[in-house]
């Protein structure tokens, strides 16, 4: 682990444990340099990590402060940079029911989103995910068979992401998401136990590996009363587009 990251971890620990609590002020950068025996650039890089996560903010001429956290966590939620799927964010026992599992030929839409050729092989997986036997989400997954080989029902019953990272030794680094509300389809009503007038929260996602390859295109439809998406946004450096 690089030094700036371990410094960030340590400062984070001091924030959450209350060491830096009084008045919200964090020691100035030169003081932190001395304490951690490093250059100022390294301290700044560590603090940058915390700024990006909305944990601290800086004021030129003043100092660095702890950010007031306005929200409490009141539902199961998935954050901006959560990429490892449902299994990791859930607290209880996660169970999956496989509704469909087959290999398709990519149609034009799937091919475009996965950046592969039309008629390339894609895994097509439809699963319902439960926490403590309560249905939370119904997930439609498309994955290029060439990139994610050896998928089995056992893996789908556990965690695809764990398989990709521990078995295939691939690294998941980023994702693009679109979040929208939708009426519950008949499938939603059936598997999520929803009434016809109850909506779902849909997350459409494209997920990338470290090498820039897209390994997943998916639609996750969540129960509207059990799930929310959380996001922190900064506007420090705006690029014109």
């Amino acid at each position: 682990m690089p030094k700036y990251q371990s410094i960030a971890e340590e400062i984070l620990k001091r924030i959450t444990s209350g060491v830096y609590k009084e008045s919200g002020l964090i020691p100035d950068e030169l003081t932190l340099c001395k304490e951690f025996v490093c250059s100022r650039m390294t301290v700044k890089k560590a603090l940058d990590l915390l700024v990006q996560r909305g944990l601290i903010y800086r004021k030129r001429g003043h100092g660095t402060f702890i950010m007031k956290q306005g929200f409490k966590k009141d539902r199961l939620n998935i954050a901006n940079r959560d990429l490892t799927g449902f299994s990791k964010v859930a607290n209880g026992t996660v169970r999956s029911k496989i509704i469909e599992f087959k290999v398709d030929f990519a149609d034009e839409d799937i091919a475009q989103h996965l950046n592969i050729k039309v008629n390339d092989h894609v895994y097509n997986v439809l699963r319902v995910r439960y926490i403590d036997d309560e249905p939370y989400v119904i997930e439609q997954n498309y994955m290029p068979a060439a990139i994610i080989p050896g998928l089995t029902r056992d893996i789908l019953n556990a965690s695809i992401y764990a398989y990709i990272e521990t078995e295939l030794k691939l690294t998941i680094t980023s994702s693009s998401k679109k979040i929208r509300a939708d009426k519950a389809s008949e499938l939603d009503q059936q598997y999520l136990r929803l009434e016809p007038d109850e909506p779902v929260l849909e997350i459409e996602q494209i997920a990338y590996l470290q090498n820039g390859i897209i390994f997943e295109y998916s639609f996750s439809r969540h129960r509207y009363d059990k799930f929310e998406f959380i996001s922190f946004g900064l506007r420090n450096k705006r690029l014109s587009n």
Copy 2:
């Protein structure tokens, strides 16, 4: 504008205009140093901005590549780091109808989210926003009167954010959001012209000024068929919490 930001702008321009298109490879960092006559750290900081936005990715030992963009924009959408509200993201003519505009005493919930005291004065604004006379969103806003003085109906009919930035000379820097689906309330049905079985996409937001002060707590309820939230997430540096 700092040098690293203008370099990032220039590289972004070359990506979108296709100058760097072939094979997706961007010149190596030392080459960019020479071209922009700067140190390597400055080039890296410029490229970091583009990485954070999901426009490029790097592979050690290989180079820097343009990221395949999987999504097309097919609705009005608000991104992760969009903080300036509805007026800026809309393309057509934005119009507002003020349903309610008053000064309240903060109750416990509002006070906690705005980080003020119970019974402090808060503006309470309820507006419907239209684009080309089509209703898009109904917005409930709470703002501390001490921080945003001089609010008028004229301002509410235009843009609160523009008033805050141009008149009050305050800088909006970040926001925390929660995004969820909900059934349409009677108010939603009435003002967004929704049927009882049609849902809304709700965004609950806390918005911060540069000085760390919370200036807004709001609920925006969007028509489910006209709006989506977009997000790009990275997982480079994980902090344990």
